[in-house]
């Protein structure tokens, strides 16, 4: 059959059941993405004969004589379509994985569509942005005349009319002559990849096909807890096109954890690559490598297993009770499993002061028990990796990971390889949110490549994401607070039960971290924490934005709200009374301060004022008419350390080339966090050049010496700091060369984009490089290195406030006003940082009102697709007013702090508190979905 794509003829013989999406990708059109493969997310949207469709659910057999336009047919990086330009200009993407389909859909709209935009865009899910920037992009894109709405209320003074450099249309400063370029730090520089992202031409993990790659598929356990008595793979192996079948007999006998941290000893060794015991439904028990996906899937169905069903437990309270089936009975504290004999993987029981008497003696006490749900990261790019052997015989893994160096190190550990025998890298990553701080595909791909010596690819489906990756830890959080009559806390007691599911993954870190800044935010003379993380036969839990804080903060901040109601004290004021200040020690459950946490800056006071002022001002949005709509306001605060404890390392280098370009090698990943932009800004600011002269090679074990990875919001505070320091070191080396050449004093030499001006003369880069001492030279350039070890951490703050209307007849919650104030230190890229806050709020709203991975009570997942797992659509997310505190941190580069995961943390309690104040009944179970709210009012 013949059809055209972007005007070019294509001749193809699609398979009988093939979807258009894969046909397009197989013919080279990798700008067409896969988010769900089920018609729900829109990442694969194309225009077919003038009408937009979802290509993943369109029969390829119907294509004869048809015309397709993809996002790359609308415009190219050198010749953008107006809609593409608008998405660049308005920062309408973060990870960018949804963007191709978003832009294709938007390109079919006109100005009349804008009133109906949420409906028209409901088939395009964005997990990163929170949609405000998408909406502005579309509004600008559909009309030449539509001007970007000046962002509302952005700026630390909180004034609407503040002229702010944030909204300056000129993002890249002008350079004139040889003078140093104006510093780019603090300006809204566009992401370096922007024009490629909006044309679908920035390659993600599977967008550069590897010739001859075989396909790997896994067979999942049908049982929640069962032992394999025998496994017969002969029929699978006999199938034509099957190259390899892997079972437990084929994998390394080394236990490991899918979770990755700087120290491998942080996470429990409780996992085998393929096991003879299945501990949750969907756990992979065999893998097939075949010529095609169809053959691999068929072979999986031909594997016969004789199972011995074992008793299973799904409730964490039952799991730790005597007599419960034991899930990892052979593990010991040496494996980082504290009490395998009662399924408790981690336990913390500590405190200071006598909690019971303190509560008894308190003038006022409040108590409650909150339950959070399983949440899917729902990043648009699923997990997956492709591996091969390179020309030097090294094993190479290209993966979608936040932690390529940690993946390399663990795979080397598992397979007994030297680090030099392996390269791991990621291209742009299509979202992560913590879910890619784990090994879910790379291990099997590495094993298959090592066995076959041929390229192998394993791309997870959306169903796989729900069934066998990880979810946010569900927690039951019980909080007791005591206070005196004036609202000063006298006692704080927190009891946490965390369900880690069948494997430990991040359970230990999540539990400890969850109980840290949530409790240390407030001063109390007496504190007590009892927390346990428990194995069950449910799908494993893992790292998720906030890393446990969000769950425990729900309990603490909701209890604080209850206390405020009880005492008749304004909730902002109650925080002012009790929150830590730089003169206070930062104490969680244990009575001693963490030695590595320091006050590099403090902005909570500003955050409280900014949010409260915004709420008082209001925004003019009224509740729907009718007595059945009840209005309430709620707020919550959150604190977070600016990096992970116990070290987070980045070793980077910067090389000056004779043409004035700088090559940066940095290990951390770009997955929508905007790190790459900030890195270009930090480096160019230090080197007096423009961002387009900074070439960044990243997230590749070949590109940098080391990086712990992109988690704990470390992209700026760790990798960025290392890079800034390397850039300053390089600047020093260049200037010293200039001094040597010119004889001028150091402070008379100015480094600019074309070289150093000294003594009214421009010394060009080739001359400078030639004058640099040999130890600094590398190839034709000059290199300097920089490192950051994360030895000391500062603290950052977020305050969220909502005004909501609740329909007491239906349980609908309508957000009338949403405000978040953030203490990010120096804001290096205001638009990007704002986007991180907005995206965090949106994900927080999703978790607070909509999202829930539901189980059937026997370990099965009831809603493993986006049409039933409710990732927020454009219609679900209001515009959030974002305010930044004016602070500058002593630790972070140029005074910056972390601001990626923390905006998520106060959202759910702020919404719960607003709902409570609207309807007079407190919701305790997340999500506060319409049916649950309705039940509160119709018990």
């Amino acid at each position: 059959m013949r059809f055209t794509v972007n005007g070019a003829p294509v001749e193809a013989e699609p398979r009988a059941g093939q979807a258009l999406r894969t046909l397009l990708r197989e013919t080279g059109h990798t700008e067409v993405k896969k988010g769900c493969d089920a018609g729900d997310c829109g990442a694969c949207a194309v225009i077919l004969d003038g009408e937009p469709i979802h290509s993943c659910i369109y029969p390829a057999q119907r294509m004869d004589g048809r015309e397709v336009t993809t996002v790359l047919g609308l415009g190219t990086p050198d010749d953008l379509h107006p809609m593409q330009e608008a998405f660049v200009e308005h920062f309408g993407f973060q990870c960018g994985f949804c963007t191709a389909g978003m832009i294709v859909t938007a390109s079919t709209l006109d100005e009349e569509s804008l009133d109906d935009l949420p409906r028209l865009m409901k088939g395009n899910l964005c997990r990163c942005t929170g949609y405000r920037s998408v909406t502005e992009s579309i509004a600008a894109g559909v009309s030449e005349s539509a001007r970007p709405g000046r962002a509302v209320n952005l700026g630390s003074t909180g004034l609407d009319d503040r002229p702010s450099p944030v909204h300056s249309p000129v993002h890249e400063p002008e350079t004139s002559g040889h003078a140093p370029a104006e510093p780019t730090a603090g300006r809204s520089i566009h992401p370096p990849a922007a024009k490629r992202v909006v044309t679908g031409s920035e390659p993600y993990t599977f967008d550069e096909p590897v010739d001859g790659a075989l396909t790997l598929r896994v067979l999942g356990s049908p049982h929640a807890h069962a032992r394999i008595l025998s496994i017969d793979t002969s029929a699978a192996e006999a199938l034509d096109g099957v190259e390899l079948v892997l079972t437990a007999a084929d994998v390394p006998k080394t236990l490991y954890s899918t979770a990755r941290h700087e120290h491998r000893g942080d996470d429990p060794d409780d996992t085998l690559m393929l096991d003879t015991i299945a501990r949750f439904r969907g756990q992979r028990v065999a893998a097939v490598v075949a010529r095609t996906a169809a053959i691999a899937e068929e072979a999986c169905r031909l594997i016969e297993i004789d199972w011995e069903i074992l008793p299973a437990v799904f409730d964490p309270e039952e799991a730790r009770a005597p007599g419960a089936p034991l899930i990892h009975p052979d593990r010991t504290p040496a494996d980082r499993v504290d009490h395998a004999d009662r399924n408790v993987i981690a336990a913390m029981h500590e405190g200071f002061g006598d909690i019971e008497s303190a509560l008894r003696d308190s003038a006022v006490t409040v108590s409650g028990s909150w339950q959070t749900q399983r949440i899917s990261h729902a990043q648009l790019e699923t997990h997956g990796s492709v591996g091969w052997v390179d020309e030097t015989g090294r094993l190479v893994i290209r993966t979608s990971s936040q932690v390529p160096f940690l993946v390399r190190d663990e795979l080397c550990h598992l397979f007994g390889l030297e680090q030099s025998a392996m390269r791991v890298f990621t291209a742009r990553v299509g979202g992560g949110f913590g879910g890619k701080q784990e090994i879910f595909s790379e291990d099997l791909v590495a094993l298959a490549v090592l066995r076959l010596g041929r390229p192998v690819a394993y791309e997870l489906s959306r169903n796989d994401e729900f069934v066998r990756t990880s979810v946010r830890h569900p927690m039951r959080v019980t909080v007791d607070l005591g206070a005196d009559a004036r609202g000063r806390l006298t006692a704080m007691k927190v009891d946490v039960l965390s369900d880690t599911g069948a494997y430990g993954n991040h359970s230990r870190g999540v539990m400890f971290h969850g109980c840290a800044e949530s409790m240390s935010l407030y001063n109390s003379p007496v504190k007590r924490v009892d927390a346990e993380a428990v194995y069950t036969n449910n799908v494993p839990s893992g790292a998720f934005r906030g890393y446990g804080l969000g769950q425990v903060i729900l309990g603490v901040e909701s209890a604080m709200d209850e206390l405020a109601i009880r005492l008749g004290i304004d909730p902002f004021e109650l925080r002012r009374i009790n929150a830590v200040t730089p003169s206070d020690p930062v104490l969680a459950g244990h009575g001693h301060a963490e030695a590595d946490v320091v006050w590099g800056s403090y902005g909570l006071d500003q955050c409280l004022d900014l949010a409260q002022d915004a709420l008082r001002r209001g925004n003019g949005v009224e509740a729907p008419a009718g007595d059945h709509w009840k209005v309430g306001e709620g707020m919550a605060a959150a604190m977070i350390a600016t990096m992970a404890p116990r070290g987070h390392i980045s070793r980077v280098h910067v090389t000056l080339r004779p043409d004035g370009m700088y090559d940066v090698g940095v290990g951390t990943s770009e997955f929508g966090n905007g790190t790459t932009t900030v890195h270009a800004q930090l480096s160019s600011t230090a080197l007096g050049t423009t961002t387009d002269r900074i070439r960044i090679r990243q997230s590749d074990t070949d590109a940098a010496a080391y990086d712990t990875g992109a988690f704990a919001s470390a992209g700026t505070t760790v990798a960025g700091k290392a890079l800034y320091s390397a850039s300053l070191a390089l600047r020093g080396v260049i200037l010293e060369a200039a001094v040597a050449i010119s004889g001028a004093a150091l402070d008379e030499c100015e480094l600019g984009p074309s070289g150093v001006v000294a003594d009214n003369r421009l010394i060009g880069f080739p001359e400078l490089i030639a004058a640099v001492p040999a130890p600094h030279r590398s190839g034709d350039g000059v290199t300097a290195a920089g490192s950051e070890f994360g030895d000391v951490r500062s603290l950052a703050f977020n305050v969220q406030a909502f005004r909501v209307a609740v329909n007491v007849l239906t349980g609908q919650v309508r957000i009338l006003q949403s405000v978040q104030s953030a203490d990010a230190g120096t804001v290096l890229n205001p638009e990007q940082c704002r986007g991180q806050v907005e995206g965090g709020v949106a994900q927080g709203i999703g978790g607070a009102l909509y999202e829930e991975v539901m189980l059937d009570g026997e370990g099965g997942i009831l809603n493993p697709v986006f049409r039933t797992y409710r990732v927020p659509q454009m219609a679900d997310i209001p515009v959030t007013e974002v305010y930044f505190a004016e602070t500058s941190d002593d630790l972070g580069p140029l005074g910056a702090k972390s601001m990626s995961e923390s905006p998520y943390n106060p959202v759910a309690p702020a919404l719960g508190n607003a709902i409570r104040r609207a309807i007079g009944v407190r919701p305790y179970e997340q999500p506060f979905s319409r049916d649950r709210i309705w039940r509160l009012l119709n018990p």
């Binding site: 089920a38 659910i57 369109y58 409901k122 007849l809 927020p872």
Partner: protein, 274 residues
Amino acid sequence: MDLNTVSSYRAARSREDLRLAPGERILGGGTWLYSEPQVTTTGLVDLTSMGWPAIEYPDGGGLRIGATCTIAELSKLPEREGWRAHPLFFQAATALLASFKIWNVATVGGNVCQSFSAGSMTSLCAALDATALIWTPDGTDYTVPVADLMTGNSTNNLADGEVLRWIDIPEHALRAHTGFRKIALAELGRSGAVLTGRVDEDGSAVFSITAATLTPNVLRYPILPSAARLQADSDAAVGYYDDPLGTADWRRGVSGVLLEEIRSELAVAEEVPR
């Protein structure tokens, strides 16, 4: 997604082509079929090549919707003198979780035959007393009210090899005043309840509860019922169910609330002289 077990595809041109071999399935627009693995399916027979008209206006009045009429085509149905039910067509389409891009491909017949409780083409048909013409494999036809086709959430009375040919909506229903409400756990989410009401020119009233119940509940009254009567009948409707898109008690509760909103609206509309 690719349907990797499918090894044959036939574009149907005649009724003869619709005789299915073992493993073959009828393919409408394909938007549902391609959205989930179909590992027991080995062949597809495409209906969209049959060339059926999307919309017909039979001589005796009413509206005939071809099974392969797309949701997009139906949502843009031209207005016609006296057809006060016209808004319902677009409203029903918007009750789908499916985006307008999917409307361009998904068919009305496919939505009905997939028979999800939340399928809003079923809601539309239940609201307007629509009947379906079914082709059987032996060459005979029969007609059945669409609301009676459903037997559960994605199950129906169609026998293997039976094909929905068209849907007829009677003239009297198209001339009625109608009301419509939809609610889901998210603003534009997959429906938890879809409620419709209509008052015909003879004053008789018909309300329907769909999506909230496994199969449609159609409530008929000689005149617009009282609030209490409608509430009681709504509460007594059968088949409210739990699933990830809502709990049974909430569905029952909001169905009553929203039906009453429709009833009040229709009462006002009926007071306005025609």
